[in-house]
Every structure is written in C-alpha cells, then in structure tokens.
C-alpha cells in the first residue's frame, strides 16, 4: 500500500516489459488465432511494413511524406494565424478594459462551438484546399492562445505598468515591452495547448474536407477497408503531434531560461 511504494529497477523493467509484451502479445494472438479477420486487424509488423512502404509508394495521389507535408503546411498556417491574432488581442484585452468588454462576450460565445463544427462553413467559404482546413485549425488553436496571453498579462505587477506609464510609454510600448515579456511563460504554455488542439482539429477537418493530407489518406484507406493504411495514418499523426509538442516544450524551457537571465 502506501509503503511498498518504490519499485527497484529490476521490478520496474519487469513490469514495463510485461506491459509491452502483453500488449503486442494480445494483438498477435488475436490475429494468429483468427479472432478478427486479417483485413480488419493486421499484425503489428504488417502495419509497420505498410508504414514504411507508404513512404515510397504513393497512395491516393501522394506518398506518405507528401501527405504529411501538406497536413503540416496547413497546420502551420492555421497555427501561425492564431498566434498572430491571439497574442496581440490578448495583450490588448489585458491593457484596456474597453477592449476586454468588447471582445469577451463575442469570444465566449464562439468558444463553446467545437472547432470541428466549423467544417461546413469552412468548406463553403474557403473550399477544401488550404483555406477551409486552415479556418478549422484556427478555430481550434485560437482560444488557448488568447486566454493564456490575457491571463499572463493581467497578472503583471501593477507597479511595472505604472512605472512605464510614468516614464512616458504609450499603449503600444506598454504592450510590447512590459506586458508581452512578462506573459511569455503563460503564452508558451498556451501555445502548447493550442498546438495540440489545432493539430487535432486539422485531422478532423481532413477526414471530412480535404483532397490531400494524412487525414484524407486515412479516409481513403477506410473506404477501401485497408486497415493497415488507416493505422499507418494514426502512427503518422501521433508522431507529428509528439514532434510538435517536443518542439514547444523546448521553447518553454528556453523561455524560462530567458526569463532568469
């Protein structure tokens, strides 16, 4: 119970190994014993082979790498747009009560709409190429950036603001030189959340409206009941999501470091 708490290294390796082994074992067993038709559940190594195969061999128009590239490009556009609008707006809301009261009700009502529910409008307004998915990503990524920027900036010690104001700083300089640096840790935490949500929303958007991208590839695989392709898509999505998160985590560390200087 509370006391035999710590595992020694041997025990840890044993239990972790057992965990992995039973996961893969159950998967293999259900394939080998034929519980599930092979078409619906390919063996782990088959999925891996398919994944590698897809890197070179085009499926539904592009190779896996090209699909990933087009997904990532859309993600980057939507995410950067969210950052470019969310951060200044959040700072402005923290600085000016008028702006805050103007934007908050509007923002709150939009926030409750799941980003994925924008898909029909996105397709209608901006088409299925780049514009549509970018709008959906934006809707997913925007709220956390705005909220975290605002929260980070509102907690800035009033003394700094007063001092800067007394020294003759205008609103713009207050925002860029006082509020922004002080809010950086909170902003970056927000960026991590928003990147995660944005990436997720992108996948959703691509499942429904897109003509390329990892999500699109998965839908095509689903339509032709090629489970190995669907699973390869899941692996790719997971890996990229992980990659984005690691990148932002690095940025977080850097920001903390930067603040301490």
């Amino acid at each position: 119970m509370a006391h035999r708490d710590r595992l020694n290294q041997g025990e840890f390796v044993l239990w972790t190994g057992l965990g992995i082994a039973s996961f893969i074992g159950v998967w293999y067993l259900s394939v080998l014993l034929g519980f599930v038709p092979k078409q619906f559940l390919p063996a782990p190594h088959e999925v891996l082979l398919k994944f590698i195969h897809l890197i070179n061999e085009p499926f539904s128009g592009y190779t896996l790498l090209a699909h990933i590239a087009s997904s990532f490009q859309r993600f980057l556009y939507g995410f950067l747009l969210a950052v470019a609008i969310g951060i200044p707006l959040g700072l402005l809301m923290a600085l000016s009560r008028f702006a805050n009261q103007l934007i908050t009700p509007f923002f709150e009502s939009i926030r409750f709409v799941a980003p994925i529910a924008w898909v029909p409008f996105a397709a209608l307004w901006f088409g299925t190429g780049i514009g549509g998915p970018v709008l959906v990503i934006f809707m997913g990524a925007f709220p956390p950036v705005l909220i975290n920027t605002y929260r980070g900036a509102i907690h800035v010690d009033k003394k700094y603001l007063e001092a800067a104001r007394m020294l003759g700083a205008g609103k713009l300089r207050l925002m860029t030189e006082v509020l922004f640096p002080a809010a950086i840790p909170s902003i970056i935490a927000g960026l991590r959340i928003s990147a995660g949500l944005g990436w997720q929303s992108l996948v959703g958007a691509e499942l429904i409206v897109a003509s390329s991208g990892v999500g699109y590839m998965m839908v095509k695989g689903q339509a032709s009941i090629q489970t190995d392709i669907v699973m390869s898509g899941m692996i790719a999505i997971g890996l990229i999501g992980l990659f984005i998160d690691v990148l932002l985590r690095q940025a977080e560390k850097f920001a903390v470091h930067y603040r301490e200087i």
């Binding site: 965990g19 959703g204 429904i208 899941m234 692996i235």
Partner: protein, 205 residues
C-alpha cells in the same frame, strides 16, 4: 413542424447527447478506476504506462476511420470513438490526483492501521477528487468534439449529421442552427457536470 435530415431538431440533440452520455460515463468511470490504481500501485503503473504512452499522442479524432472500418456507421462506432476520447484525460488526471496527495496524509492513514478499502475510500479518492473532476471536464469536452466529428463523417441522426446535410445542401442558415445547437448542448452538459462537481465536493463550494 418539419424536421431536417431524418429527424426533428430535438431528436438530433437527444441522439447526440445520449451517445455522449453513454460513452462518457462508461469510459470515464473505467478511466478513473485505472488512474487511481496506477496512482496507488507502482507495478500497475509500470505495466500500463508504455501502452498508454504509445496510444496517447494519437488524437481521438484519428480513431474515427478505424472505428468505421471496425464497426460501421452506426452507434457502436460512435461510442467507441467517444470512449477513446474520454478515457485518456480521465486516466491522466485521476493518476495525477492520487500522486498529488501528500505523503504525511498517506503515512498517517497507514499508521492508524487503516484497511485497504478505507484507505481508498477515505484517503485516495477524496484527495484525488479535485483533479478527477478537472479530468472529467476535459473528457466531456473531448467526447463532445469527437462525437460531432464522427457524425460529420457519417451518420443518419445527430447534430453532426445536420451539419453534414446542410453543408451538402449549401444551406448556411441550417449550418448555423447546427452550430448553435452544438454549442448549447455542449454548454448544457458542462453545466450538469459542474453541478455534479459541487455536489461531490461540498467542502470546496
């Protein structure tokens, strides 16, 4: 009153809410159980963690095509996707919740010779409750988003199917109706959860 896309608005709303409630309740209760067990027992943690860490980066929406391949376009595929969406936040937060209980509290309980059952009931669960509810809120939100997406991909009834139908008919007014219904229903369920939270943790209110 005429309906739209195989049903009237209340039928779509009820369908979606029913699916979310079913999937969410089953999944989050199992998730909380697993999270607490992982928090309380390092062996279970070591056993489950690698599987969990592998599956975790895959967003719930990415399970939709797999769910359709496995279970078709009916309700069971939706429940599977909701299940995946709600499970991860429930596990992570109840696990962190148990770990956030301070050592003296655990030791005091152990010293007083508490039984295993009472240890869970009196120490671990109440201590983890605030974070468990944080997890539940995230779970509910994820379930809702995922369900709408799954219904957009393919369904005959439900709010997502209204959106899908309206997009195909190029009917912006109906798209808006769908979006507003999604927002209001989501908000309503969050409110119910907040009520439950106040009820479960009277000492925090």
């Amino acid at each position: 009153m005429q309906g739209y896309g195989n049903g009237k608005l209340y039928q779509h709303v009820l369908q979606s809410m029913m699916l979310v409630t079913t999937g969410f309740l089953v999944s989050s209760s199992l998730g909380i159980l697993l999270g607490i067990l992982m928090g309380a027992n390092k062996k279970i943690e070591a056993f489950v963690n690698p599987i969990f860490l592998t599956l975790r980066p895959i967003p719930p929406l990415a399970w939709i095509p797999l769910a359709i391949v496995w279970l078709g376009l009916g309700n069971s595929a939706k429940v599977m996707v909701i299940y995946v969406a709600a499970f991860v936040p429930a596990v992570i937060n109840s696990f962190t919740g148990v770990r956030s209980i301070e050592m003296p509290q655990r030791e005091a309980a152990a010293m007083l010779g508490i039984s295993r059952f009472a240890y869970y009931r009196e120490v671990l669960i109440p201590g983890a409750l605030p974070l468990i509810f944080t997890g539940l809120r995230l779970s509910l939100q994820a379930s809702w988003t995922t369900l709408v997406a799954a219904e957009l991909v393919g369904a005959t009834l439900g709010l997502g199917s209204i959106l899908n139908q309206a997009a195909q008919d190029i009917n912006p007014a109906m798209i808006l109706v769908g979006m507003i219904s999604v927002a209001i229903s989501g908000w309503l369920m969050t409110q119910i959860l907040a009520k439950a939270e106040r009820y479960a943790m009277p000492w925090r209110a």
